[in-house]
Symmetry: none
Subunit: 224 residues, 4 copies
DNA sequence: AATGAATGAGGTTTCATTCAT
DNA sequence: AATGAATGAAACCTCATTCAT
């Protein structure tokens, strides 16, 4: 039993290692430039072995994707719940992006893979029972809620379509991350990039807020 | 002589036809999924024939890219010059996007190819003598000017960095176009997409403008 | 009739021009690197037009080859006949090579093509009635005669097989020309190359001669 | 462990088999006429498999080339060291050629590839630190030494330029091998070819030697 | 569980040659 | 007579995936 347990743990380790390595490679080179051989080499495994842990390359990508998007939403959700208004909730989302990107570039992989797995996101989303949604769908749902809440509490401009705004916010964030992802690694200066993100996010916050809101909520703090 | 002329015209037609077909294919499937064989098949030519008109696949992409970006800037520039304020100039840029996208989806190809040809745009740009800039570089320059003008004439918020804002605007536009490009063709409903663009652009306009400006300049008209 | 004549002359001019151009290209780049398009471009003709004058690329090569080899033999033969001994005849052959190469690098084309047209030369040669031989065959025959003559008149070592010696001489000459042909054009210094040829030829002359001969016949003059 | 060893041996065998097959094909058809598909077919592999063992066609050629040239020089060098005079050393080089060619036609591949890898050899050679030379460069150096030695010990004619003579010898040998290589395989009668080589080599030996030397050193033995 | 070995399908590019005009 | 246009065949190379051991 101890042995079986150990085996199982080893297997999980390998599994996780493959995912981590693939993520790194994607962050370094972009999804398209990562081959199964690249992954195998860095994992010090044979290509064939990868297929013991994952049925296909697609499956690796999917797993990274869903694992990461779950993680992101776990990070964001409590911050949303603490927010005292709809506007603050939106602000909390942007803050989370800045913090997440600040702590690691991993998020680049998330967005790179997204374009392979659910390219139509956030335009097209299958209807799912509440609780059955995947990370990105849930994330979208969260933002819709934030916007609705903001309209209701008067911190966001009335007359907005929450779904449309949610899509807009997602696309803008996505666009920035992808632009960053295309930078060759040696030009990715985290500080500059965060400044760029902050700039865009602040513009959007100002664009969405009503006069009634606290001006301080429209500014994102510097993160060093 | 009439014959020579006709022949020459036919040759140019083929040349143009190949470009047009490639553009269509890119719009349909994305740059990465378009092969020389695909182009040849749709043009009802052999692969070898393509190489009579273009020295390489890259050359086809480049030609489409530079031709389109020149066309876009020619479209946008006069509208900028007519604008009475910096804010209106920015608004004119957004309007142009809406109009261009409304008349054809071609612009999707432009952005798809951009990521191949100058992936670091708009982050990294080689310095060039004025007048020697490629379309995208010139476009960036235009927007920097608009923003500067807007700060000077008080229609845009003071304290903004024009270069940073220009990059932000380009990235946001790019992000939207790319999100649209990833939609399968049958789901690309031009009206919905334009509404989506309009939504984002209006948010950004509001986010950039000062109170002093004309409220009507913050709204983009519907284009049917 | 005047017109017909002119036409015919024009046709011959084109024909000759194509041959000349091809020869130049071969000298510059080597046989393998010359394409029909290269020839057409430099001749300011279309590829298709080449096929009006020659049925195939092979045919162009063959014609250059036979024309040049005839010219070479016409150059060499009278010098052989003036020679007063077998040894001097051999010397005259070498002298001819030095002179021919000195006046133009064309001979490089001759040897380049040879390897395509009659690769087995000088090992295998079809039997032909006297007078029906092609240039290279005749050339070989000449050298066989020279050697025979030299053995008979005592200037060349007895016990040699004239045919074998003839083949040896041809192979050695060929080897040098081909080595030169492989040099990139900018490194082909005619003076150095002639010195190299002279060196080899003198060694061979000394190796073939008997003591009886005039020592001065073993030295080749410098050609500036 | 036994298994690992066996696998590794098999892999090396395949590697070696590909090299051997390629060598054979080159010997049969010449370098230019050998394609990756040819090699794959004869090896009963797919083209893709070849790329598991070698990164490119060029790499196969290079490996054959360096392996063979190393082998040749290992064969020749001890024979040179046993030689009692410069002339005998040169003779030993020729002897080696005869023996090597007698035991296998492989050497044809060596010379065929040489013209691809270092076409300017022996005219142009990069300077290298002693001990860093490739096989052919080392070979050239050896021959220069032999000639120098021969001039010093009086067995070779004074007034010769050792470097020039070395180049001449290499070109002559190369010329013969290449002439042989162009023969269709069914006409390559090893005995005849060796006789031909012997004939040329003996002429050159006589041409280089002084009267002082032992006449028997000017004759190469028959090898049956 | 692990992997060495193999491959089919597909990518870009080149070139001698043909044919309608 | 001249050619613009076209192409089939073939070259090198890559990669996700399979399978026997």
């Amino acid at each position: 039993m101890g042995i079986i347990e150990r085996k199982s743990r080893e297997r999980e380790n390998r599994h996780a290692a493959i995912l981590a390595i693939t993520k790194d490679l994607i962050v370094e080179r972009g999804v398209d430039a990562v081959t199964m051989l690249d992954i195998a080499k860095r994992a010090e495994l044979s290509k064939a072995t990868l297929y013991l842990y994952f049925p296909s390359k697609e499956a690796i990508l999917k797993e990274i994707f869903f694992e990461m998007s779950t993680r992101v939403i776990s990070y964001v959700r409590p911050r949303l719940e603490e927010a005292k208004s709809g506007l603050e909730a939106i602000r909390a989302v942007w803050m989370s992006y800045l913090e997440l990107f600040g702590s690691s570039e991993d998020i680049i992989a998330l967005y790179g893979i997204k374009n392979h797995i659910i390219p139509s996101y956030p335009f097209i989303m299958p209807y799912r029972e509440p609780g059955m949604m995947t990370g990105p769908e849930e994330f979208y749902g969260c933002i819709v809620e934030c916007v609705t809440r903001g309209i209701d509490d008067g911190t966001l401009a009335p007359g907005l379509d929450p779904k449309s705004i949610a899509r807009s916010l997602l696309m803008v964030a996505s666009g920035i991350i992808e632009a960053v992802a295309r930078l060759p690694r040696e030009h990715r200066d985290v500080r500059i990039i965060r400044a760029e993100m902050k700039s865009v996010f602040e513009i959007m916050l100002r664009g969405l807020a009503t006069d009634r809101c606290d001006r301080s909520a429209l500014v994102l703090p510097d993160i060093e």
